[in-house]
């Protein structure tokens, strides 16, 4: 694929991507080890004070969601800038450093400061009965504002550049395809998918900005009280959208790169455009399924939540997943790392997505809500979906075409990783099935049936699978890190 950038610009862009990749490869296992300690604590293999457990949980949740979105944005920046429309390199560095500062501040506020209100900082928990110092609440709020601003700027930068290049929002949303006017210059899938992902993202960052500023008001004026149901809607809108669109943004490069391996074209057409316009709407309304057990929420919104959740499966499976099958079926593709990992990522997405659909049924949610079923499903499409797409991208980026066959370490590593991931996930699902609650630092206080012993046993087994995940990553890192680092000077 030829680049629209001149060699110097391309080199700069490549260097920034290397920095992004290395940052991700360092932070990711760090956050996994927090997860490992949580599982060990729940299984009785470790003994953390409650505040330590919950501050790890907070850092892990915010950190994972944040780093995966950030690396995905970084990768999308690289692809868009090198192929479709040049993005300002200085501005990208600015966003990178802002994100880095936000991350370091967040780590300080949680791991050292002890802030422990969970990723969703559910109002009014940060302000009532907190066992951590007030400054760590303030510092977390500030770090999230820094991250939010960075993501907002990074997203706007991409959206504005794309809009300028392809003639505005309606073009980017493919509306001309929908009405039957195929443009002379075809719209790349990545451009449309980035739009569908980043416009809701911008809305969600604005929603986050509003409640974070409300947090700051509350911090300085403790007598204030905001409506908790309204705050809950805001936070879940933000949290759901950012995780959801991380997956979509990553799918953008699957659309872009898979055809290079299958040798089959995969472009925007009318059905593609209709489908991604559908996704746009479902992204915005699906978050409502997080509030099913808030009976005070207007019931119209509860219906909307289930309908939007169900319908979101239509474009994803009909267009994207069938699209992947259409790319690979009888294609004589060579199963090197990239196509293999893209296919497996799609598999994880489908499995996790299906488990999510089951839980997005109100009738089912009333017994699965806030059990381990919830982390089970989203860890599936993150660990077995998005993360694999990211590794696919890293291999694409770091391994020249000619060398892509001989990847014994990578293959071994990915297999160990996969065994670890599916074992770890299975324990979460079994926990959910057995009504083990989520967000419990220990299960010893549960005296109902055998929930306690089941929960502890599953957590212990899961801890060993997590160690396998870390081992698998280590094996992959052996070759991956040097290859990526080499790209810095290429």
């Amino acid at each position: 694929m030829t680049s629209i950038l001149n060699p110097t610009e391309l080199k700069q862009q490549r260097r920034l991507l290397v920095i992004w990749c290395i940052t991700f490869l360092i932070i990711f296992p760090f956050l996994i080890s927090l997860g490992l300690m949580m599982r060990m604590n729940q299984g009785g293999l470790a003994d953390l004070p409650p505040n330590t457990f919950y501050s790890y949980m907070t850092m892990h949740g915010l950190g994972m969601a944040g780093i995966l979105f950030s690396i995905t944005l970084g990768a999308a920046n690289y692809l868009i800038s090198s192929r479709y429309v040049k993005l300002k390199i200085g501005f990208q560095y600015f966003v990178y450093f802002l994100i880095l500062i936000g991350f370091l501040t967040l780590i300080f506020a949680t791991i050292i400061g002890g802030f422990a209100a969970g990723w969703y900082v559910l109002y009014p928990l940060p302000f009532i009965g907190a066992s951590w110092p007030a400054w760590s609440t303030a510092l977390t709020t500030v770090s999230l504002i820094v991250l939010g601003v960075a993501w907002l700027l990074g997203s706007m930068h991409v959206l504005l550049a794309l809009a300028k290049r392809y003639g505005g929002f309606s073009r980017l949303m493919g509306w001309n395809y929908i009405v039957g006017k195929t443009p002379d210059e075809p719209l790349p899938p990545m451009a449309m998918i980035a739009t569908v992902a980043l416009v809701p993202a911008v809305l969600s960052f604005l929603s986050a900005a509003v409640f974070l500023v409300m947090f700051l008001f509350q911090y300085f004026e403790p007598s204030l009280a905001f409506d908790p149901l309204f705050m809950k809607n805001m936070i879940f809108f933000f949290g759901h959208v950012i995780v959801n669109i991380t997956m979509y943004l990553a799918v953008g490069w699957v659309y872009t790169l898979l055809p290079e391996y299958s040798k089959r074209d995969w472009g925007v057409d009318r059905i593609f455009a209709i489908s991604w316009n559908g996704s746009f709407i479902f992204i915005i309304f699906a978050y409502l399924h997080h509030l099913y057990m808030d009976f005070a929420q207007p019931s119209g919104l509860q219906f909307a939540g289930q309908i939007a959740s169900y319908l979101s499966a239509v474009p994803v499976t009909v267009v994207t997943m069938f699209g992947v099958i259409g790319q690979l079926y009888h294609s004589k593709v060579k199963w090197t790392m990239v196509p293999f990992v893209f296919l497996l990522g799609t598999m994880g997405w489908a499995i996790g997505g299906f488990a999510a659909l089951v839980d997005s049924t109100i009738y089912v949610n009333k017994v699965l809500h806030n059990t381990l079923w919830v982390p089970a499903h989203f860890h599936t499409y993150m660990l077995a979906g998005v993360v694999l797409y990211i590794f696919g991208f890293l291999y694409y980026f770091s391994t020249p075409e000619a060398e892509r066959k001989t990847e014994n370490y990578s293959k071994l590593g990915i297999w160990i990783y996969l065994i670890g991931v599916y074992g770890f996930l299975l324990m979460f699902y079994l926990g959910g099935m057995n009504s083990v609650p989520r967000r419990y630092d220990k299960y010893v206080g549960i005296t109902v049936g055998d929930v306690q012993s089941t929960g502890m046993l599953l957590a212990r087994i899961a801890a060993y699978f997590v160690m396998a995940i870390l081992a698998g990553l280590l094996v992959m890192y052996v070759s991956l890190i040097t290859r990526i680092a080499k790209k810095f000077n290429e």
């Binding site: 928990l125 808030d294 009909v318 089951v358 009738y363 017994v367 699902y429 009504s435 109902v448």
Partner: protein, 194 residues
Amino acid sequence: MIPNNLFLSIQTSAAIVSLLGAILVVCIVLFIIGTSSVDEEKHQAKGKVYKLRVKYFYGLMAAIVLLLFFTMQTLPYFKHKTTRSDEVVTVVGAQWAWKMDHGTTEVKAKEFEGLNDITLPSNKVIQFNVMSADVNHNFAIYNDKGDIVAQTQAMPNYTNHLQYTFEERGEYHILCLEYCGMAHAYMTGSIHIE
């Protein structure tokens, strides 16, 4: 109306359905990998997949409409409006204890007094009016086997009405299912059914 448990608990059925879904997905992936070396002209191969896709689309839409129709027959939200309850119980979640008492209350959630266990009759429609004195909690009822049978959020400023009929005599248990601070995992209570 769909009964609460047809043969298996809802959670077991959900797990089985999800497992079957996962197996189907894995089979599709294995099939694609296994047959990928077959040489077929690309438009022809894609054409076959897209033909199947049309059938899948109609099947999926039909399934969604049917499932929405059936699963939305019994929602937990309106029961207290449509069914008369035999007994009302006030429940207040507070950091970190459940307070329960018979009847409605006039006092604010913060001032409410109650105990973390209560005795209730079997086979009567019980309405729990659930509130919170401080942060978000979640009032979840477990049967003695350890399965969740019903739940609702306990939220400051709002009252959530949860209706449930206990069919079996004996012990039911309460856990908190919304993270509410340090002792969240120890915020328990019990319900004796006579």
